[in-house]
Each structure stands twice: as structure tokens, then as C-alpha cells.
């Protein structure tokens, strides 16, 4: 909704705005939807002038149509696939987190959502030399843990510090400060963050966890809560697309009517992330002390065919991951636009990907 104001466009002056208001035309939508001829008569302005105003306002406030070919071209040159730092997770995600979209990690407590987020943040800042925005809504992020993860990667103190500089942390504990933060990031602070701390542009915005601030709002009469949830989703989506960042959010899990585990936040949220990963802790298979096996299952993807997960398939695609150490494609591929296309060609011909499930070995010894 955009309220009509004088000087919004040439020809729209104080008097005309007043006249229009008297004719019950207060917003741009009102003016555009109304019959121009009738309004011109009622407000005694020339039809031509009003028509011109309508056209300018329309052009200013509309979403502009883009040709599919141009969009594709733009996408090829701007999309980056950010490696998560774990080869098995990358494989699951079709080589990593894609910029321009929302990826959701959902799982119960201790399923390794946050650890994966930390791992991604560390990987992007240290190896891809890009900035990361980390929005922590649970208070679960500690600099100590980040440093610890960095120390396993590199012993160079300077590199560690530089990497930490590139991780911008916001600790917010309610939905309003989250929205505030996201809006200000979208309004330009994202670029500032890029220029500031240690160079490298912001490539990822991580919200851990999005459900912590939203789920308390969803009550019996949940109009307002739903609206706030959709607002959070909207700003994340537009930010991801306009600034070409990967948005990664974490979600909790609930049990459905049949007792099955499913991501939280309900049916309306389920449409929001383009890729959803369900993380689970596999209790039975704890291998080493301090470590336990986690599994990640792809449950929604716009690019890959998600087959029904098969439990015994888990081990076939398994890959152990201890202390986030195994990994790293040597080509530090932050921008790999040319490969996108290849990837997809590959996807067509590749053997049917039946088991979209991998196991992650996630150490928790750092927590102690």
C-alpha cells in the first residue's frame, strides 16, 4: 500500500492530492484501479494529465517483467553454490547451499542443526573468504566454539582472526528484533557488512533458529503470528534473491497425527523453504565416545527428485565426519556459475539417485 503524496511524480501536486483524497482516492492502488475518465471529471483535471500520472505511478510501483532468457543469463552469472564443508552434505544438497534461495535444516534437539550452521559459517569465512551474517535467536552461538572449529582447520592465528572478523553475529530473541534486523540488512546494511569486517561480500545469512522466535506466536487465534511468520519469510526470500545470498534457517520438529517426525511451524511455513533437510540423531550407532552419528535426509528440493527415504540406504551413502574435518573440495568454489549448467546436465544422466540420505558424524566434544 503506497499512500499518494505530492511530488511523487511530476504533475501530482498538493491540490490534486487533496482533490483525489476528497474523491476517496488515497493510495496508488486506488488511483490505478479507478476509472481515469471518471476521476478526471470529478477532480476537474485534464484526462491526459491524470493518465500520464497513472502511467508514471504504475511504472514506479509495479514489479517489472523480465524475460526468461535474461533471468537465466543473470542467474548463471550470479548464482554461487556454497559448499557446506562436508562432502556428504554437499552431495545431498546437489553440491551445496545455493544463493538466492532459502534452505531449511530441521531436526530435534541435538540433531546437529546448529553445528552444521557453525560449520557452514566457518567454512564460508575461512575457505571461501566471504562474509556471513549469523543471526542467533537461541543464544547457542559461542565464539569459543567457532574458534575451536577454526583451530582444527588452520593453526595460523591471523587467519583464524580474519575468519572470525567475517562472521557477523546478531543475537536477537524476539520476532520484532529479527524483522528489524532483516529489514535493515535488506535496506543496505548487507553491503556495509561486506565492506566492513575483513572484506569479502556477504554470501550467506544464517538464522539459527527461526522457529525459536516464531513458534511462540502461533497460538489458537494465530492471525497475527501467521502474518509475522510470512513477513519473516518474505524478507528472507527477497533478500536472498536481490542480494544473491544463501539463506539458511533452522527449524524444530514436531510429530504429526500419525506420529511421524516432520518439520515444525505448520503447513503455511512448509511452502517457504525451497530445500528442506531433516536431521536426526541415530542413537544406536554411536561409534566413538563424544561422537555420535547424525543422519540428514533431503525431504524437499526444487531441483532434485526426492525419493522416499529408505532407512537401509543410509549407510550406503554414508560418510563419516568427525570434528568437521573431512572435506573441502580443493577448488574453493564460491562462484561456480559455469558449472551450474553442467551440474544439471549431469543430473539428467546420472544414475538414479535413490537414496537421498547421508550420515554425518558430528562430534560434540567441543561442547564440553
Amino acid at each position: 500500500m503506497v499512500v499518494l503524496r505530492a511530488e511523487m511524480c511530476p504533475g501530482l501536486d498538493e491540490d490534486l492530492v487533496k482533490d483525489l483524497r476528497a474523491a476517496d482516492i488515497k493510495t496508488v492502488e486506488d488511483l490505478v484501479s479507478s476509472d481515469t475518465e471518471e476521476v478526471a471529471q470529478r477532480c476537474s483535471v485534464s484526462y491526459k494529465a491524470l493518465f500520464a500520472i497513472r502511467r508514471v505511478l504504475l511504472a514506479q510501483h509495479t514489479a517489472f517483467p523480465v524475460s526468461g532468457a535474461d533471468l537465466y543469463e543473470e542467474l548463471l552469472s550470479s548464482t554461487a553454490i556454497l559448499s557446506s564443508g562436508s562432502p556428504s552434505l554437499d552431495k545431498l544438497l546437489d553440491s551445496g547451499f545455493y544463493t538466492g534461495e532459502i534452505t531449511e535444516l530441521s531436526g530435534g534437539p541435538g540433531s546437529g542443526k546448529s553445528q552444521v550452521c557453525f560449520g557452514v559459517a566457518v567454512h564460508i569465512s575461512l575457505h571461501l573468504k566471504q562474509s556471513v551474517i549469523f543471526i542467533d535467536t537461541t543464544g547457542g552461538l559461542t565464539a569459543k566454539r567457532l574458534l575451536q572449529m577454526l583451530q582444527t582447520e588452520t593453526s595460523n592465528r591471523e587467519e583464524q582472526m580474519e575468519a572470525l572478523q567475517r562472521i557477523h553475529v546478531f543475537q536477537l530473541f524476539d520476532v520484532f528484533s529479527l524483522l528489524d534486523c532483516l529489514y535493515s540488512l535488506r535496506a543496505g546494511r548487507l553491503q556495509q557488512a561486506s565492506v566492513g569486517g575483513g572484506g569479502g561480500s556477504v554470501k550467506a545469512v544464517i538464522v539459527d533458529s527461526v522457529s525459536a522466535v516464531i513458534s511462540p506466536l502461533l497460538g489458537a487465534k494465530h492471525n497475527e503470528g501467521m502474518s509475522l511468520m510470512i513477513q519473516v519469510a518474505g524478507v528472507l526470500k527477497t533478500m536472498a534473491k536481490d542480494f544473491n545470498v544463501a539463506a539458511v534457517v533452522t527449524n524444530h520438529v514436531t510429530r504429526g497425527d500419525g506420529g511421524e517426525v516432520q518439520p515444525g511451524l505448520g503447513a503455511s511455513w512448509s511452502h517457504i523453504p525451497r530445500t528442506r533437510v531433516l536431521m536426526e540423531k541415530l542413537d544406536r550407532t554411536s561409534v566413538v565416545s563424544h561422537s555420535s552419528l547424525r543422519s540428514a535426509t533431503l525431504i524437499k528440493s526444487s531441483r532434485q527428485v526426492t525419493h522416499s527415504p529408505a532407512r537401509h540406504g543410509a549407510q550406503s551413502g554414508s560418510c563419516q565426519r568427525s570434528e568437521h574435518k573431512a572435506r573441502l573440495q580443493t577448488s574453493v568454489g564460491s562462484e561456480r556459475p559455469a558449472e551450474c549448467r553442467l551440474q544439471h546436465k549431469h543430473l539428467d544422466s546420472a544414475e538414479p539417485k535413490r537414496f537421498r540420505q547421508v550420515s554425518l558424524l558430528c562430534s560434540t566434544c567441543g561442547e564440553r
Binding site: M1, V28, E29, S33, H61, T62, A63, P65, V66, S67, G68, A69, L71, Y72, L75, E101, L218, A220, K221, H222, N223, E224, S227, M229, I230, Q231, G234, T238, A240, K241, R255, G256, D257, G258, G259, E260, V261, G264, G266, A267, S268, S270, H271, R274, L278, E280, K300, S302, R303, Q304, V305, T306, H307, S308, A310, R311, G313, K345, L347, D348
Partner: protein, 294 residues
Amino acid sequence: MTESGAQLFARLEARRSLKDIETRLFPEDGGPDQGEVVELYGPEGTGKTELLYHLLCRCVLPVASGGLEVDVVFVDTDYSLDMLRLVSILDSRLNAARSTGSPSAGSDEALLRHCLSRLLVVHCSSSSQLLLTLHFLETSLSSRPGLALLLIDSISAFYWQDRCEGGASIAKQEERLSKCAELLGRLLRDYRITVFATCHAIRRSYSGPSSSSSSTSSTSSEYDRPYLCRPWQRLVNHRLLCSRQEAAHNMAATAGGSREQRRRRVFTARCTSSRTKASRSSSFCVTDGGVEFM
């Protein structure tokens, strides 16, 4: 309002009918006529957007590859259009046509780009922007006679925002979508285009924990009821109810650790037309190359 001769011609000259856009989806001889609206309705992960890609590809592909060669507008309110996915589907369709038919002229890339140039994409982030954009699209419609299909993914994207911003009065809550529907109705009459729009199923019962979504099986009736404003409901001529089989089953398999294995998820779209009262169910599965009917 004046219009030039070219505009008049573009407006009145019959646009291509899309009755045969996908015969496997609609009842016998019941495809969407010019000026009709098809609503694809279903919860997350039931193949709505995937079906849109399928229809989109069918429209923009050259006749030699089994397409219709018409222009398409994609109104993306969910930011769900995945160009890479679309391109890979187009690619596989082009390849399939090439292997069976005569070798087509031009390289893959050029042909692909040519197909994509028949597509116009708009991203809308609020219902007022959607309304303004529909107004703005009128100029595109009048200047491009080849434009015959409008896809909206999804029409329900701003439902909750409108509900909240409208305050207590239902009329105010539904005002913008009603206006969009009215405008769309006029565009359909004036330009004889066909509209496909997706609509998310929402959970509206206040029983039980509201933060959890429920399985599709037990509460299907609750999911099926239309909830968008009356003007939109009146506009819809065909309704495709999308569902996914064994969805609840699959989830249970994940949780319970059962060893059951299903290789493919089967999607079903059940079409009911308000005009003929005929209905038809069709099943398809989603592969790397897009929708495949069974």
C-alpha cells in the same frame, strides 16, 4: 480510452486456445478454454509448481519439439521459480525431441534461449504490488498477441498478511485479492488468455497444536475447502486437487525406521470442472526430466 490499430488487432485477433495444453490432466474435451482459470490446490510437496513447469515447457517449446510456441507470463509471488530446474526440464524435452524427430536447426543453447525468451517473469512481494503488476501487465498483453498463458505461483501467498493488515473486517481483509480477482476477470474477458494459479492448502481448524502440520490422510476434507475470497472462487473454472500418495506413509517410515522402500512418489491431480461437472484423476511422477504421466 484509445487504442491503436495494432493494439486492437492484438486484442481481438484470436489468441491461441490452450484447450489441448495437457489433455491427460483434464476430462475428455474439457481443457481450459480461452478466458478460463484453473486452480491447482494442495499442500506443500504435492507437485503444484512442478505441474506449472510442465505446462510452461509445453507452451514455450517449439512446435517441432511438441510445444505450442506461445508466450507465457509467470507471476512469482512465492519466489519459487527455480530457473535451473526449469532449464533442465526444457533441456530434457528438447533432447527427447531431437532423438526421435528430425535434427533441428540451431545449437542447443540458442534454441533454449529462444524458448526462454517466450517467458516473462515478474516477482511480487505484496498483494498491492500484485494488483499494480496485473494492471501493468495489461500493456504486455495488448502488445503481445502471442501471449496466451498467465501462471501465478501462488495466489494465496499474501493471504495471512492481508488477513492481519485488514483488521477486524473480513471485507477489508479480502479487499486486495478481490480487486486482483476482478481485474483478472476483466483481463480474461478482454484478452482471452488462460490462467493457471496455485493455491496452498492451509490448516484452518483451531483444534490441536497449531504449530504442527498434520498428515494429509486424516484431515483431507479440512484441507480441501477453498478459503480465498469469493470473487476469486467465482473466477475459477477448473480445480485441480493435488496430492501425493503414501506421503504419510513415507514420513512414518522415516520416523519409525521401518525398512520399507518406495522408489517413487506418485502424485495425483484430480480435476473438477465447474462447467461440465466432469472430473478426472491423473497420476504422474516427477523425474529429473520433469513430470511424467502414468
